[in-house]
């Protein structure tokens, strides 16, 4: 039997958060953590968590599993369970709405700041704005982000300044549009990032790289943004 400890908190009724223990029979299978949560839900229907696609595409079930952020649906027990014990907590640093469900408002507010859409004031061509295969290749490793918030909520700089530091996820997206040959708002985008908090709160800790379930590298993208700022200003 797998021992699972789940963070429980209902701000409307509980004075403080607590951990609730469950014994789960996995029948010896290497289940995904989301499967374990479904088994727990069958025992106790009041346990709250988000989920949707169950295949690592929607980014809904970002959780902290045995101390490491990840997507419950694509994290097998063999990867995270130690000493037959699994501790599941909500993503750190964001306000808890209930149990494992967090308020992503601050995370989305930072995403909104980077204006994550193409900006191009030249007349639109009749069909589409074309890119060379080389220019398109520059977006690889950037566009795949699913906004699960695993990286930003693993970042100490984001924990301390979630209202001022854009965070690894937002900065990966910022670079995704800075690197896009079809976008011509580069100067305006860079001007918005040249303050002591938005980009430069990144101290290269690389927790973001360590936890990204899609294998992306926000620290590298932040380095590219720094280089662009440096090239522009010196």
């Amino acid at each position: 039997m797998l021992q699972v400890s789940i963070y429980r908190y209902n701000p409307e009724t509980d004075a403080e958060p607590s951990m609730q223990d469950f014994q789960i029979d996995t029948s010896g299978k290497d289940l995904m953590v989301l499967d374990v949560l479904e088994l727990i839900k069958a025992q106790d229907t009041t346990v709250g968590y988000r989920r949707s696609c169950r295949e690592g595409v929607c980014g809904s079930d970002g959780l902290n599993m045995n101390g490491k952020n990840g997507l419950a649906c694509i994290t097998p027990l063999s990867e995270t369970v130690k000493s037959n014990k699994l501790v599941i907590r909500p993503l750190p640093g964001l306000p808890v709405i209930r149990d494992l469900v967090v308020d992503m408002g601050m995370f989305y507010a930072q995403y909104e700041k980077v204006q994550p859409y193409l900006q191009n004031d030249t007349p639109a061509p009749s069909i589409e704005r074309l890119q060379t295969p080389e220019d398109r290749a520059k977006l690889d490793g950037l566009y795949e982000c699913i906004l699960c918030a695993c990286c930003s909520t693993a970042c100490p700089s984001f924990w301390w300044n979630p209202d001022r530091f854009i965070g690894p996820s937002g900065l990966l997206q910022a670079y995704r549009f800075l690197a896009d040959s079809r976008d011509n708002a580069t100067d305006e985008r860079l001007a918005q990032l040249d303050d002591p908090f938005s980009v430069f709160r990144c101290h290269g800790i690389q927790n973001c790289v360590n936890v990204c379930p899609k294998g992306l590298n926000p620290t590298k993208a932040i380095g590219h943004i720094r280089n662009m700022l440096l090239t522009r200003a010196t």
């Binding site: 301390w160 303050d195 002591p196």
Partner: protein, 119 residues
């Protein structure tokens, strides 16, 4: 764009660049002093070394680099931990007191160091 009037250069990029450049200067100075000590030096040689204008200028550069490096670093620490988010409204007061304390200490060290060098 997040506004900040207490950071060293008011710009994230200039603070970041200065932190790196001052770090390199401090490393060079540490290697220079460390190397001299490892090779072996007596009091007369040590005094003669610091009597040369080149070494005095290098030391002053290291002191000023240390001042800038320390302010940028301590400012980052203060704005991480001594904030309204972490400590409530008293966080702002604590951070301001911390920043005044740091700037005073750095000012005293710069004046003191300059006095020792050129006095």
């Amino acid at each position: 764009m997040v506004k900040s009037v207490t950071s060293f250069g008011r710009s994230g990029l200039s603070d970041w660049l200065l932190q790196r450049v001052s770090g390199v200067i401090l490393l060079a100075y540490a290697i220079c002093l460390g190397g001299t000590l490892v090779i072996g030096v007596n009091y007369a040689q040590w005094q003669a070394m610091f009597a040369s204008t080149g070494m005095r200028v290098f030391t002053l550069l290291a002191i000023l680099s240390l001042a800038a490096h320390a302010w940028i670093g301590m400012w980052a620490v203060g704005t991480d931990y001594l904030t309204e988010r972490m400590l409530g409204t008293k966080g702002n007061l604590l951070r301001l007191a911390f920043q005044i304390g740091c700037s005073l200490a750095i000012f005293v060290y710069v004046i003191w160091g300059t006095q020792i060098l050129w006095g």
